[in-house]
Symmetry: D3
Subunit: 254 residues, 6 copies
């Protein structure tokens, strides 16, 4: 890289107001690049429910080059290696799914930052292009969001939020609904989870960390500042509406 | 495959009325599969302007498995090997770009069918899963569409349409506009090409072959029966409208 | 996807009699497709000893499209994420290696099904093409087979078999032989493991779950209903016999 | 590589007697490696009817490392670049399909060797590992086989065989049968092509070049010294016989 | 991309003085990215002698994102489709090997630019990110360098240089030496080609186009302004010197 | 494979004196092959900080074919499956990062060898090409090096070294420095870690196992016999010095 490390724009912006992102689940650098040109503040490369794993991220992360979109990765699970690999490859914000306890929150926090803030393993990797390789400087730029998406996680939310190194809570409303005995909502959080959302937003505010949600901009008014508006699957599936509409418009020529 | 070869549905259907498809330019089997679930009659894997070449088609063609979408390939150029490779991989309809002369039309026709209708090289390949491997039966199922997209091609359209083995003409309005001194139209054929479209539709009708167009359902009334309604790039790029809308809706929480 | 979800044929069939499959260890969708056309009831994509991991399954799973072969995955280890990823990608039956205790069996069962039967994380993924995305309906279709392949596992077989959500025990005779101090049998279970096989078949019958074995059709008479007859490596290695035979037949022409 | 270049074993051996090979059409280095361990003298990576193109050969060619199997490539067509690319990647013997005229034979010969024997473009590439990078020494090791597989090619066989730099003629009996108005023979050359085979073997003998055939060892007695005994597709498809046999052997346990 | 198209920096710079680049022959986006961080003005992705073809360029071209290195591609041959594909993928400067005649020069020029300067096929592709999609504006930014690397090409150099749309001549000294009956020079142009170099530099100056050379900075004084200083293979092969040196330094500890 | 299994040359050599290797972090078989031709005794494919995971090793391991370089893998973490997968793919020496306790050392040892020395799962895999498939013979050839790279690991070094099946300790000086409150040294072990190095070399000598270090040949005199001299990233990054030097040498021609 020819210039100065640019840092994590997403975490700078969320101190000022909501940041908007989307989910990438198709393992195609070309698809990621098209998404990266749409103007999102961040894109989440989803290693939990997407086609790809943490060792396949690099080609997708290159698609962020020259844009201002913050590369964010949902790791598949709360694993020291998976988190380290995603960061080495160039992820700046890490989202960890299914966090339920303080101990799990501490484990994630240890994996994200170098000594003395954590125990991440150091090496010169691709990550240095955007964040440099000074351990202390990198520690200031990376961000960690923990997902609360079970009834147990909800119960322990305050403890989770209080762990040093946790920069925010990100709510997964579909799994949360399931563990509360509700149906997952495909296009919006299920009715019945609102109280949980408000509780988490409140806890985040109290602990001075950011609240995020896999849900649209309308949740900004509930205090959520990291929000997602759609995903690559849904955008491609919109082809169905297009073809239905065209079929209606195509007059019989027989 | 365990059952009977199913044949080329697209060419059966276009004898009854318009068939609607879309373009795939992202080299991702996952993206193709999502498109294949949208209900198009056919999808065109675009080896001319897409990310991929004819030797990379197989993983994408597998994404059609179990659907009724006819796998169609635009080969990069009018080349005996490229056409053979696409067919071997499982393409059922071949679209050849930039055809300008009778000789070029004959060359394409030779590549598409086995003796005695052409000179395609025979082997047991993936293609046998859908069309079998009897040369005569395969010859009946595959289809060849030639693109007219230059002023020269337009001039020679009647000669091109009269070549045995040519099943249709497919118009590329953007390049056609360019060679007529017009700007290419990004979302619809440029003003100024309508007469050319009508001329080609007329020639196709006269020669008893199908007319196609890289353009929407509204052209069915001009006699076009192979039409495309969008592409994967445009579907993903619709993310921009979503994020703009969401940004407008996200109230400041400061 | 154009039609109704088709469900897990393998688990329907094994209630009626033996089902026969094979192992895929070469990470090639083309090789899987050729195997899928051979008429097996199921194919096991082997993420433990094969070339590939759970995040590389999708291109191989597409090779099952349009066939009636049930896509089955041996995950590399008893891991919540690995199991979830294989299911999201389209696996319908999961085989977990090296299960030795009730606790491990419970862990696997939690990973395979959604609430309230387990704790699988929900999302709209490729899996919906064959099984839909209603949590309860999916839970009914997926199947979980646990491998007993150590002396410890054998000892705890009854406890393992009694765990809710375990649909069958699948015996790995090579590792089982090793842990019993015997040599692994390359082409058939080692002498000395028969008693173990009978014991497991008996336990399965008692608990109303299916018994499976990495071994041939002759074990059907021991009560095994999920059986494997070969693998891709062995099929390709049969080239040696062909070339030896040909070499014997090629007369010197000097 | 650390040792002395080893040269093209296949062309050394065919001066002494028949060499036996097989076709690789699956684009998987793992599958090629399993084939390379079977004891063939050479393997043909088939860029004409296989899954892959010349720019995808390198990973497959690495699977020959440490074996004595001569890496051979059927290029997709008679193209200067395709031949150069295959050689640069490490192919030692080149097979060109569909050669019909002296001019085409000369074109292939020019592409295979450096000045003064041809016009191949020189660079330090992977090929130097086995053959070195001295132009003259490389010219002595590489081999060129031209396929005659049409009636026109058959007619011009003597002219084709007389072109300097052509090391042999390789007959493709399936396409040859087609162009003679016969059905292609899937497992053996079609009845009706024997005279053609004998004619070509005679011409090769007369011109002091080797005769080859996509057919089994029994053709050695016709004078063919480069013979193929099967392919990867057929080896995998043998799974069908295995499963049928097993199904017959699996007694009902109901 | 979110900002203004940035244009072809390499062609802006060479009007002011020498530009320095290197060759990439390893088909690895990670390797390209490391090279792109070294400070070259341009990198040549070599589809002629490298591991990859034009349809595999996109992942490598993404590695230029956020740098000021001009993505340059040597196409494998003088082919309308290959040139179009490289440009669509994001190449800004095209190098065509083995040009020998005016007709060949005109063919290349037609492929590089849109109407009215050429006959490139128009589509919205990845290329628009850096150069926009207005045909006239793109025509101004792309650059075409033709390689003279044979005695015939040398003879016709003035005619080649006079073709409209040719932005420069790039000399390949290794092949040029071979066709002059000399050995190719591995690390520097062979003795005996200097006169040829001076002749070409003179012709370029006369026609107001740039002269380039696969050779180092010392040739700037001969009037060459597009120069290459090494390649990825040579950089990795420098490991040999490192290990030799270390071996000498590692004292026996026995 | 045609001959007798060749065994693990690296572990034979280190009994006689220092062995020298390098790190491969670029996930490119072509890059690995170029490194394998440099004369290192071993190459470490780095799944911890490299671009790739254990399921992507096979294409890289094929690049060792025909060389005498011992294929060595640093697994991403101390995981039974990851170690088994690397060995199945053909790794002969395994390096496990971040080992801190006797229990962790025992866990790694169990994963590396078959019964009765460990609990590795047995199958016929690619590994048999070099080491055969007899469990006892394989156990004698594979090697296990554990990394000590934290203050805790250093404290427990003697216990770790005493675990049966541990063939050596390999020090990671960068992470070790970090956990000791020092800065990681990019090109050489940080000042302040020498005492730790000497302590570990002493413990290894005492327990009759080998000592290794991610550091150069000069550490041989401290008793280290497994040493690394560079990596692929650093070799490619040396392009910067080349271009800087060339830029200084390129005279202005204006």
């Amino acid at each position: 890289m020819t210039g100065t490390p640019t840092g994590n724009r997403m975490r700078r912006e969320w101190t000022r107001g909501p940041v908007l992102g989307a989910w990438c689940t198709i393992g195609s650098p070309g698809a990621v690049e098209l998404m990266a040109d749409c103007g999102y503040d961040f894109l989440i490369l989803d290693c939990q429910h997407g086609e790809f794993g943490v060792t396949e991220l690099e080609p997708m992360l290159r698609a962020f080059g020259g844009t201002e979109v913050t590369p964010t990765v949902r790791v598949p699970h709360n694993d020291y290696f998976a988190i380290g690999h995603a960061l080495d490859a160039g992820a700046q914000t890490i989202i960890v799914p299914m966090v339920e306890t303080r101990e799990q929150a501490e484990r994630a926090a240890r994996a994200v930052r170098y000594q003395p803030d954590g125990a991440r393993s150091w090496a010169v990797t691709r990550a240095a292009r955007a964040l440099g390789s000074d351990p202390a400087a990198v520690n200031e730029q990376v961000a960690l969001l923990l997902m609360i998406e079970t009834a147990t996680g909800l119960e322990n939310a305050a403890e989770i939020a209080s762990v040093p190194g946790v920069d925010g809570i990100f709510v997964g409303p579909a799994d949360l609904a399931l563990t509360m005995g509700l149906q997952p909502g495909v296009t919006a959080p299920a009715a019945g989870v609102e109280d949980a959302l408000d509780k988490i937003a409140g806890i985040c505010a109290e602990h001075g960390i950011v609240a995020g949600l896999a849900g649209g901009a309308e949740y900004a008014r509930h205090g959520f500042r990291v929000l997602t508006v759609g995903n690559d699957r849904a955008l491609l599936a919109a082809g169905r509406a297009k073809v239905d509409e065209a079929r209606a418009a195509a007059p019989s020529t027989g």
